[in-house]
Symmetry: C2
Subunit: 194 residues, 2 copies
Amino acid sequence: MPIYLRGLLFLSEQGKQSISSRNMANLLGVNSWQIRKDFSYFGGFGTRGVGYEVGKLIKQINKILKLDGVRKVALVGVGNLGLAILAYPGFRMYNFEIVAAFDTNPKKIGRKVSNITIEDASDIRTLKRRKIDLAIIAVPRDSAQETADALVEADTKGILNLAPCRITVPKKVKVITIDIAMDLARLPYYMPAS
Amino acid sequence: MPIYLRGLLFLSEQGKQSISSRNMANLLGVNSWQIRKDFSYFGGFGTRGVGYEVGKLIKQINKILKLDGVRKVALVGVGNLGLAILAYPGFRMYNFEIVAAFDTNPKKIGRKVSNITIEDASDIRTLKRRKIDLAIIAVPRDSAQETADALVEADTKGILNLAPCRITVPKKVKVITIDIAMDLARLPYYMPAS
DNA sequence: CTATGTGAATTTATTCACAGCA
DNA sequence: TGCTGTGAATAAATTCACATAG
């Protein structure tokens, strides 16, 4: 569903009012019946003979993905990658707002980056009373698990882990790990012998 | 397979010589029979009653994923994310070496970052004769497709696209797209009502 | 006795074809 | 006539159980 949402937000930006599953399919590079099946799974959103209304569909998917209403996000680790994330404007379209940043480096703590004051990582526990239950881990691999532990302690419910390793958390906490180098390592397999 | 490789490289780093599918399973958070099935698909790599030899298995998977031998990689887009990628040491373990960087910003062209001199994006075509057929796109969304076109023109065979959109390329070119914001958007769905 | 490798059973996902509604 | 929504057919992946090798 997130990929459909991204496409629909793009169409909305372009001023498109409605779209058929076929047109959407070749925009996103998937099959039209896949789109229809996926949408019908959550209940029919389209109009037969016409297609899907872009604005309406965005609202529906936002509700399904629980993206209606602004969500506050914390960032842990303000290295190169952390800085890139703080500067990146692309979270807004999903109603995310990065409202806190943590690091262990004393030279960074207290400094202001992209309107956010970097806090001491030992203050991660304050996230609980600040009602921030979503976090991005952008620390080195060997600190990732302890960071995750601190976040779990602070009642974080969802973690986007950008460190190149698995992190272990209670199963009530959802983790998605992105490992850019590992994903790059998947490419050569599909490439001709050279 | 890449996730197995990552785990095995970690074990190797820890000095482990051999491991059973069961132990590897709970290290990686998967099932032991899944691991055995996956390995047996490419031919049996283990020893019954003992397990898998870490070093040997790494070699095998490297061969399967065509990661044996250093691969040169080009980066296009030296913004915040591009800088993070240039500074990131994690590509080495898969034998990747970032050897070129491009940008369109005249202020950046010619500057040296992480031992790499930033070149003009219009020189992407030189990648062909420099035998660089793997690239990372880290440009803004609206430049992603034209960047991809230039890379295809330069005979690039694999692209890791970090821009938040689909890019269209000939089917002989393999693309993997990573959209961090979109992945973050998948988390709330799994989180309790709040 | 331990841990791999693999056929068979089960579940899940994909693809198709078309009925049904605007 | 056009496009959605969906049951049925097909394909793929997962899970299991156990024979087999060290």
